[in-house]
């Protein structure tokens, strides 16, 4: 068990520059919210306004949360007059541009919450960008 501390310290050291880099990178998230799931339903969606304030493109490659079994980046798309969802493996944020995750478009598909989320609760989801940047974001649950 003695190895645990060095590993932990190592992780801390490894993560610190990443967190700092995210701040410097100037990627920010506003109006992050998750829709309260109707009773008995095990899936819902998360929305936000992603802002890339850097002069370089940033690529969102994944989203993770300990609050859900699965988090996927999805997009609601039109297909032959119908609406469906497709997996978006990565999303590029143009330099100095914003991207809206909103109903009917991009959303985080959140599957099997670990606990029942009610309006007013908070749930943390971490956004991961290419190059190793991670951005922890607090989402407000709304009805």
């Amino acid at each position: 068990m003695r190895w645990r501390r060095p590993v932990f310290l190592g992780l801390m050291l490894a993560l610190t520059p990443i967190a700092a880099a995210t701040e410097e990178a100037g990627i920010s998230v506003r109006d992050a919210w998750v829709r309260e799931a109707p009773p008995g339903m095990t899936m819902t969606a998360g929305y936000m306004l992603l802002q890339n304030k850097t002069s370089r493109p940033q690529v969102l490659v994944a989203a993770r949360s300990s609050g859900f079994e699965t988090v996927m980046i999805h997009r609601t798309v039109a297909k032959e007059g119908m609406t469906g969802m497709e997996h978006a493996p990565q999303i590029e944020l143009l330099p100095n541009a914003s991207l809206l995750f909103a109903p009917g478009g991009y959303h985080l598909m959140l599957l099997n919450p670990k606990r029942t989320l009610r309006a007013g609760d908070r749930v943390d989801i971490t956004l991961e960008f290419r190059g190793g940047l991670v951005l922890p974001v607090a989402y407000e649950v709304r009805k």
Binding site: P38, A78, M82, T83, G84, P103, L110
Partner: protein
């Protein structure tokens, strides 16, 4: 306030203009929100079951204005968004002078495999206690959806609870004589729906009942 009043008047004028044409073709109002059928299309028979396990057939569409939405409960984005919008539209219609006594909202699940009556009850009443959830077998669903040109596709994968479903995101309005009268195209907003509906109901008056 002035803007709202002007918009309402404009809406009424547009509706009136649309009606004077008296053709059989659909008219998409210039604001792109609602498409009207000057010659509403009578619906043919179908048989569903509602969330209380009662028969839901053509007769249940008579005597009321019905807002229909095709979807499925395992739908994280469009369906809850639309039902929440319709719940707000209902609230607003209920506050109008004519009220919402002659209005019903029906969620039609195209995924009967997962959407049992019990699931539908839990789901639709979460958004609005008066909402109805109905479904039927593929043949019946096809029969009704086809009359609205409402395509849907369910890719059932045996052994998994998660499979993709595609469905139209429009909301269909059926008049009290069970005729397909208008369609609201996404993106939907509650005020846009309720205001146009109130004007339409006023113009149609007893003609539609």
């Amino acid at each position: 306030m002035t803007t709202v009043v002007l918009a309402a008047i404009l809406g009424a004028v547009l509706l009136a203009a649309a009606y004077r044409e008296n053709g059989s073709r659909a008219i998409l109002l210039p604001d792109q929100v609602m498409t009207l059928f000057p010659a509403p299309k009578p619906l043919a028979a179908f048989a569903f079951t509602d969330h209380e396990n009662r028969v839901f057939d053509l007769s249940r569409l008579k005597g009321k204005w019905s807002f229909l939405f095709f979807g499925y409960t395992h739908c994280p984005d469009i369906c809850p968004t639309t039902l929440a919008t319709l719940a707000r539209a209902h609230e607003s219609i209920a506050k109008s002078t004519a009220g919402a006594q002659d209005v019903q909202f029906v969620f039609i699940s195209v995924d009967p495999n997962r959407d049992t009556a019990g699931k539908l009850r839990q789901y639709v009443t979460y958004f609005d206690a008066t909402f109805l959830g109905v479904t039927g077998d593929d043949a019946q669903l096809g029969k009704l959806a086809g009359q609205f040109g409402a395509a849907y596709q369910v890719e059932v994968k045996p052994g998994t609870e998660n499979y993709p479903v595609y469905h139209t995101a429009a909301v269909f309005l059926v008049d009290p004589r069970a005729r397909y009268h208008a369609v609201f195209a996404p993106p939907l907003d509650a005020e846009g729906i309720s205001r146009r509906f109130e004007v339409l109901r006023e113009l149609e008056g007893p003609k539609a009942t």
